[in-house]
Structures are given as structure tokens and as C-alpha cells.
């Protein structure tokens, strides 16, 4: 690992460039030429050479470098060609390409300067430091608010009633087409209602007035539950109302997911 690194260490130390614009700007500054009057031919050659060096030094040469190199070479080639006597507007002139490049360089230079400014502020000793506030720690001794704030017992009762009401309505059952009523679904519906009436419910309460099919399936479901011992039936008096009770086994299948 160490050996490998030794091999790839470049002999010449070039500054790390933030990107192709950074490299171009550095070359222009080294040449001490006006950004508005770049000697394109020379700078283009230097740029291509620098990119080549970067590549051979195993530094990351991204496509952006190659694109800018191509652009510079293109502008250079256009400058070398004899100018036509009359400028045709149909093609983009090299002046426009140059202009665009100059504008990008100027914009980049401005932000680079701003970045250097930020760096100076950041590294100069002489700024305020702040506390890192740990809110959780601050509040660790504060008792949490009562999560039931504003809730009275009646609210809890109403919630329980909603559960019962929903079970009694059997929405799940009523919203499917009669021929889709499955015995499992009705079984759950009947069992749910019996469980919610631990002190017993009347048989006549259980069979809802619905389609003939629903009534038949509900009755079959009840027979099934009686057979498996999840529901117990009592008839206190002859011809009296049959009462249904959940047994200890009632919950047995509810854990199946």
C-alpha cells in the first residue's frame, strides 16, 4: 500500500485545481495577461499540456477539463484561420466564444475571491464561539406533559363505544357483494361481537337483518364457533332467548398474522 503510494507521488508539485476554470485562471495569472485579452493560442497549448501532466500524475482529470481544452483549441483554430472578408452572422464567431469564456472566468474569479475571503474569516483567530446546546439534556429534569391533557373519562368511553358500534354495524361484511361473503370474515365478525359482550348477547341481536345470504352465513359461522368451543350458548328458560358468551378459547386464533 505504502509502496504504491510512493510510486505515484508526483515529482513536480502542482497546486490542486478546483476545476478547469481554476486551472485556466491560474495559467492566465501566471502569464500576467489581461483576462479580456487572453493570448488564446499560447494559453490553449499550456492548458492542454497541464491537463496532460495532471493525467500522467494520476490526478483526477474529469471530462470538464477535456471539454474546456477542446473549447480552447477550437477558439485557437478559428483564430488561425484567415477571416472571411464579410462576417456572416449564421455561425457563432470566435469573438462570441471568447466573450462567453471571459464572462465565465470573471464570474468564477469573483466567487473564488469570495471563497478566499471566507477562508480568511474562518481561519483568522478572532471570531466568536458558541455553545452547543443539548435540549434533551436541558429538559431531562422537566416532567413531561400529561399526554392525556384535556381528555376526560367520557372521551375514553366514547372511544370504546365507537369500537362496539363498528363491530355491531359489521361494515366489513356489509361492503362486500353477497356472493363474496366468506365464512372466515363472517366468523371473525360474529366472534368480535360476542367478545365485546362478555356478559352475554342475545342470539336475535347477533343475526343482523341483512341479505338472506348474510343471515345464513352468520348462522353457519355461529355453529362453527360453538363447535370449536369459542362461543358458549345458554338458554335460561324453555323457549326463552338464547344467550351467547365468549369462552376462554375465544381469542385463540387472533394471533395469526
Amino acid at each position: 500500500m505504502l509502496k504504491e503510494r510512493e510510486i505515484t507521488v508526483p515529482q513536480v508539485k502542482l497546486p490542486a485545481f478546483q476545476g478547469p476554470l481554476d486551472l485556466l485562471l491560474t495559467l492566465i495569472q501566471q502569464e500576467k495577461v489581461d483576462i479580456y485579452d487572453i493570448p488564446i493560442a499560447r494559453i490553449a497549448d499550456q492548458f492542454v499540456e497541464a491537463v496532460r501532466q495532471l493525467g500522467s500524475m494520476d490526478m483526477e482529470v474529469t471530462t470538464e477539463f477535456l471539454v474546456l481544452a477542446a473549447q480552447l483549441l477550437y477558439i485557437k483554430s478559428r483564430e488561425l484561420l484567415p477571416k472571411p472578408p464579410k462576417m456572416e452572422q449564421s455561425e457563432v464567431g470566435e469573438e462570441d466564444l471568447r466573450q462567453e469564456l471571459v464572462e465565465r472566468l470573471l464570474a468564477y474569479r469573483t466567487f473564488k475571491q469570495a471563497a478566499q475571503l471566507f477562508e480568511r474569516i474562518e481561519t483568522s483567530s478572532g471570531r466568536s464561539y458558541y455553545r452547543e446546546v443539548d435540549v434533551e439534556d436541558l429538559l431531562s429534569e422537566v416532567p413531561p406533559e400529561d399526554p392525556l391533557k384535556g381528555i376526560v373519562f367520557d372521551d375514553l368511553w366514547q372511544a370504546f363505544c365507537r369500537v362496539i358500534e363498528r363491530a355491531e354495524k359489521g361494515e366489513e361484511i356489509r361492503h362486500v357483494k353477497p356472493d363474496e361473503i366468506s365464512i372466515e370474515r363472517v366468523l371473525a365478525d360474529v366472534l368480535r361481537r360476542v367478545i365485546l359482550h362478555p356478559k352475554g348477547m342475545h342470539f336475535y341481536q347477533l343475526i343482523r337483518e341483512g341479505s338472506r345470504m348474510e343471515m345464513v352465513v352468520s348462522f353457519l359461522a355461529l355453529l362453527e364457533l360453538l363447535k370449536s368451543g369459542k362461543v358458549r350458548a345458554e338458554q335460561p328458560s324453555l323457549l326463552g332467548s338464547i344467550m351467547l358468551f365468549p369462552t376462554a378459547k375465544a381469542y385463540e386464533f387472533t394471533e395469526e398474522e
Binding site: 392525556l148 355491531e168 341481536q205
Partner: protein, 182 residues
């Protein structure tokens, strides 16, 4: 102590930003002063915070020092960070009511009674300390049994679960149920 003004200021700044308490030794090293001198400066700083118009306090924790706020100002800090109480959802109330009346009860049983999944509501109730695990049910998978907490009883002013108003559905006559359903 006039000659130690910059050091006192630096000491205060260090205690202000430090995440954990700083010892006299650590402070002495940074300020290039003997620990005994640091101790003197610390006492000076402590005195400076005494007046009623000052909100800070110098705390000594495990032989180190840090800045804090005076305990009597805690209520203002609570207001600053007060979290709006989240109202319990209808689903959470339903789950709570089922657990209150059917405890101990498993999640599967709650799901079954409600006819819908209740895991999120249940998690909320556990997080808020209204419901807790009270054991495991015998049987396949040994599912967790849930019950209500002390906090639940306290809120409703109940001494025990036996105090829960008897809400057996039997008390509703079948007529009432029928009319309620219309």
C-alpha cells in the same frame, strides 16, 4: 485582581463553550496559570454571578467546572422548549379504551376487536407511558400482553383498575344498542 482581567474573561469564555466540566488543571494549562490561581479566578467568577440580575451560575461537577443557568429560572427555559402537547388520535383512544377494559390483552386481540391494525397507536401509547407490557401470553409465539400504567390511573383519578367505571356492554339494553346503531 485587576491584573487578571483577560484571564478571567478567557476562563468565562472557556466554561461557556465547554461541553463537559473543566478542571482547574485543564484550565490552568490553557491559561498558563497555576491551578491555585485558577481556583481564585473561579471564586471571583462565582461571586460575579451572585446578583439577582444575573442568570448564570458556576457549577462544580465531579471536581470540574461549567456554566449553567440558575435553577429558579428553569421555568422560563421550559417555556422556551415547551413542546405542544400532542392530542391523542381517535385510534389511540380506541386502543387505550380496549386495553383498559380487556387487559391484559395482546396486540393481535386489540387488532381483532378493532378490525384494523393498531400497531402505530399502540406504540404511541407505550411511548407516552399510558400503556405498558405486563407479561407474555401462553401459546404460540408467546405474544406480549399489554395493560394500563399508573400514569393512566393517576390521570383519571382512579386508585386501581377496580375503580374503572363498569362499562359492560350488557348495561346497554338491546334497545339502546339498536337505537345507537341507527
Amino acid at each position: 485582581m485587576l491584573f487578571r482581567e483577560p484571564e478571567t474573561a478567557a476562563l468565562e469564555a472557556l466554561l461557556f463553550v465547554a461541553k463537559s466540566p473543566l478542571t482547574c488543571e485543564q484550565l490552568g494549562e490553557i491559561l498558563e496559570l497555576a491551578p491555585a490561581k485558577i481556583e481564585e479566578l473561579i471564586y471571583e467568577l462565582r461571586d460575579r454571578y451572585l446578583p439577582n440580575s444575573c442568570g448564570l451560575i458556576l457549577l462544580e461537577i465531579n471536581g470540574g467546572y461549567k456554566l449553567g443557568t440558575k435553577p429558579e429560572l428553569a421555568r422560563y427555559i421550559e417555556i422556551l422548549y415547551k413542546q405542544p402537547v400532542q392530542v391523542l388520535s381517535n385510534a389511540a383512544l380506541e386502543v387505550l379504551s380496549i386495553i383498559a377494559y380487556k387487559q391484559p390483552v395482546t396486540r393481535g386481540e386489540v387488532d381483532f376487536i378493532r378490525g384494523v391494525q393498531s400497531d402505530r397507536a399502540l406504540t404511541t401509547l407505550v411511548d407516552k407511558g399510558l400503556v405498558k407490557e405486563v407479561g407474555r401470553k401462553d401459546g404460540p409465539g408467546r405474544p406480549i400482553l399489554y395493560g394500563t400504567t399508573e400514569q393512566f390511573l393517576l390521570h383519571f383519578g382512579l386508585r386501581s383498575l377496580a375503580d374503572l367505571p363498569n362499562l359492560e356492554i350488557e348495561e346497554l339494553s338491546s334497545d339502546e344498542v339498536a337505537s345507537a346503531l341507527e
